[in-house]
Symmetry: none
Subunit: 119 residues, 2 copies
């Protein structure tokens, strides 16, 4: 899958979503990510959406679902790199992602995951 | 924009809403605030509505949305200075602002943000 890259760093799966991701790709990503979280015993997942300049309800919902699935598999999950316009759109669409943790950047998310592991 | 002032203090954006803010102003504020939270990496947002003597559903909804957008951008958000009459109106209008954190005053909100940063 070229529409997203997944890398394992310090037991954390980093998922970089590409800007040209399609609806089909993002559903495939849900399958692939679930398998990898489970297979690699990842303790965290960081989903980087900084390439996304716009979102619709479908993408918003799938990202929320990705985070929820990873949480259920016991991987603490952060969405990072959300652009201001994307945050505004999600709120206007009535999607508050209440169960999704956001962090400003990958660095911030990794710091919090390390703090959680050390604590 | 004169209808609201925004100042950065200790990584926290303080937003003071003026009493004569119009519906158009408050929508502009949503854009400006989203951009600034992201650009300055603010870890908190405090929205001071002490000048507002009355609110309608529109203003109530936009304030709730402001708080939700800032939360999505990883800034802990407080609404401060809500007058009793405003709280009563919001409840009567059926707006419970479930995801909006309120604090009595700016001082209380800053204390909680400092405690969160230190913890």
């Amino acid at each position: 899958m070229d529409a997203a890259s997944i890398h394992l760093v310090e037991d954390v799966l980093l998922v970089a979503i590409q800007e040209d991701i399609t609806d089909t790709d993002i559903l495939d990503l849900q399958d692939v990510l679930s398998e990898r979280v489970s297979a690699e015993g990842a303790r965290g997942v960081v989903i980087d959406i900084s390439t996304l300049e716009i979102v619709d309800t479908f993408v918003g919902r799938v990202i929320a679902q990705l985070a929820n699935i990873a949480n259920l598999l016991d991987a603490e999950t952060f969405v990072v790199g959300m652009r201001p316009a994307v945050a505004m759109t999600l709120v206007e669409l009535g999607m508050h992602l209440p169960e999704t943790r956001t962090a400003l950047s990958l660095t911030h998310a990794m710091q919090r995951l390390r703090a959680a592991a050390g604590g």
